[in-house]
């Protein structure tokens, strides 16, 4: 049944291969039998963290109840080295997983390398109609859908309600307000206003979105980090530090940020939903009600935080693609999404899930859903992840004053051009 594939262009090859294989109903072990019953083993590499993994393991194994002949092998791969591990495994093909949970930033990269199997047409249609639009976009590469969105997130402004109240300020809506609020906090409580994470360029994105810019313009294949908006963004970040509104670090940012916020050394930090559990563990938030979350402060032109989240994708080399796609379908079903929101406070990607009482009443959803609605889609290009390394270098330099905002913007652009050859 396998048709000859002679296309030279990589993407075309894959698209064809996916269709060809989708049509075939025989061949590799464990594929759909004539009866239509799925069987075999599906290995899932999940990147969820320590507190989440037990829930996901249980959910994954429950798939077995629906398809008794399919065994799901759940493997937790720490998020930190998952991208490298997945690449290693996919490229060598040995011991590779069938299904992966990929950060939204990785999908285009994996897809461009030919590692991912296209999402079956029926499912793709469903994703287009029933899922949040910005979430659906993250699974696409070159017009094809390679991954199904599982959860969505974005950054928000975490604040210590009591400290803000003591200082007599409202949660700031703009960077200017952050500065005035920080001054009030400093004079009333002696503490610092904001912790600005300076050692990770993901935290730079709200600044550049806030000035109405972006790292790159994917449509016109143009590097825009050194545009006036980009320079202003570096300036705004540096300004928070020089004005004393924020403290920062060039290393160990995560730990210092969490410690400072949890122990009440700073009143605010910018962070994602994944940090909530850790914040609650701090002395300042023994009373959970003391934690407030708002949208990230706006810059001079706009308000925006990067859209994050995780997608589920099937390995193109999987020996059990049908069962794998069915498994992905199951993991992204309404029931499972509501279930995970209830258990882990993760934000679902299905529009209809938000009407469910369990989701509606969830505190975290109430915090983050408005922010997610406004979250800015990143350019879903394969080089997405690669851009963050040189950007981190320049962001750290700019924030700590080691180089001027102009130089940082220019140097980032130079580095981006090296990665995005033949872009403007």
């Amino acid at each position: 049944m396998r048709r000859g594939i002679a296309a030279t262009a990589l993407v075309a090859t894959l698209a064809l291969a996916a269709t060809a294989c989708g049509d075939s109903d025989s061949g590799d072990s464990g594929e759909k039998k004539s009866s239509g019953e799925l069987s075999g083993t599906v290995t899932w590499w999940d990147t969820s963290n320590d507190t989440e993994k037990a829930t996901f393991k249980k959910i994954a194994e429950d798939f077995h109840a629906q398809h008794p002949k399919v065994t799901v092998k759940y493997v937790n791969v720490p998020y930190g080295d998952a991208q490298n591990k997945i690449k290693n495994a996919f490229s060598s093909g040995s011991d590779a997983p069938d299904v992966i949970r990929a950060d939204v930033g990785w999908v285009a990269d994996f897809a461009s390398l030919g590692y991912l199997d296209k999402v079956p047409d029926a499912k793709a249609k469903e994703v287009d109609s029933a899922f949040l639009k910005q979430a659906a976009a993250s699974g696409k590469y070159d017009g094809q859908m390679y991954a199904v969105p599982q959860v969505i997130d974005t950054l928000g402004l975490f604040y210590n309600k009591k400290m803000l109240k003591d200082a007599g300020v409202e949660p700031p809506k703009t960077l200017e307000e952050v500065k005035t609020a920080a001054a009030a906090i400093k004079s009333k409580t002696g503490k610092t206003g904001l912790y600005l994470r300076g050692d990770d360029s993901y935290w730079f994105l709200p600044f550049i979105y806030g000035e109405g810019g972006d790292l790159v313009d994917a449509k016109n294949k143009k590097v825009t980090v050194d545009s006036p908006a980009g320079v202003k963004a570096f300036k705004a970040a540096r300004d928070l530090v020089t004005s004393g509104a924020a403290i920062t670090n060039a290393t160990d940012g995560w730990n210092n940020m969490e410690t400072a916020f949890k122990s009440g050394k700073v009143a605010m930090m910018v962070n994602g939903p994944w940090a909530v559990a850790d914040a609650y563990a701090g002395d300042e938030f023994k009373d959970k009600a003391n934690l407030g979350i708002a949208a990230v402060p706006a810059g001079s032109a706009a308000q925006g935080a990067p859209q994050g989240g995780h997608d589920l994708a099937v390995y193109a080399g999987s020996k059990n693609r049908d069962a794998s796609h069915a498994f992905v379908d199951y993991l992204t079903s309404q029931t499972v999404q509501v279930q995970t929101t209830k258990a882990l406070s993760l934000l679902p990607t299905r529009t209809a899930a938000y009407d469910q009482p369990d989701v509606k009443s969830n505190e975290m959803v109430q915090f983050f859903k408005p922010a997610v609605d406004k979250a800015v889609e990143r350019a879903w290009i394969p080089e997405n992840g690669a851009l963050f390394e040189p950007l981190k270098l320049q962001f750290t330099k700019a924030v700590t004053g080691a180089s001027s905002p102009e130089d940082a913007a220019k140097a980032s652009a130079t580095a981006f051009h090296k990665i995005l050859k033949d872009w403007k």
């Binding site: 320590d50 493997v75 040995s94 011991d95 995560w254």
Partner: protein, 278 residues
Amino acid sequence: MSSQRGKRSPLASVGLHATLIGASVIAVFPVLWVFLTSLKPAKYAITTDFFKDTTLDNYRYLVDKTSFFTWFGNSALIAGVTTLLGVFISATTGYAVSRFKFPGMRPLMWTLLITQMFPMAILIVPLYNLMGQLGLLNQPVGLIITYLTIAVPFCAWMMKGFFDGIPVEIDESGRVDGLNPFGTFWRLILPLAKPGLAVTAFYSFITAWGEVAYSSAFMVGDENLTLAGGLQTFVTQYTANWGPMTAASVLIAVPAAVFFLFAQKHLVAGMTAGATKG
């Protein structure tokens, strides 16, 4: 050696002890700090108090909530086999290079040196693919072979130096007794080389026990991880579970330190011979 200079002024004596105490504190303190941190509740991990609400919770978490013992077993297996094989093949190689003049000896010596110059960090992907082709991914064997390549060149070099120090007359007496070179090596020379073997064992063990990069690249899944890989699950860019991390560090350091206690008696003697003549 220096007993002839036993008459030391009290002042010099105080100076000597003061310096050594200072150096010992610097040597021990970071390790001690990890231990103290592991006794603090996880949420106070990054504080500067020496003691705060001392508890064993971190250890309990490690035992109850993670596959610590599986990781420990994997590491023990891998480090143990690496040590055994490492000692054996370093010894045979060292002996051959020390005693026989054979074609390929000088290139081999150079290879042993050059191998150590190799930036192993960038070999991860090629080795991964190689292990994939050999079907050794996610298998202890794959890691053992990799660790051998890291440990053996230095060990063989050192063993050569050590064997150089053993009088060649012993070999000759073996030959007179009708032993072939393997017999001579095994029955006569090896027993004399204990200090050298101890150092080799120590070095191989430490290499395999504490390696992070390869073990986290080659092994996947809770049940296959080694300790070093397992520890990576605690601290990533977006989570930092320092409590269990420090507790695990302590438990990892203990076997290494115990192994070291056994080896250290021989360490000086073994290294001397190896390094002087190497």
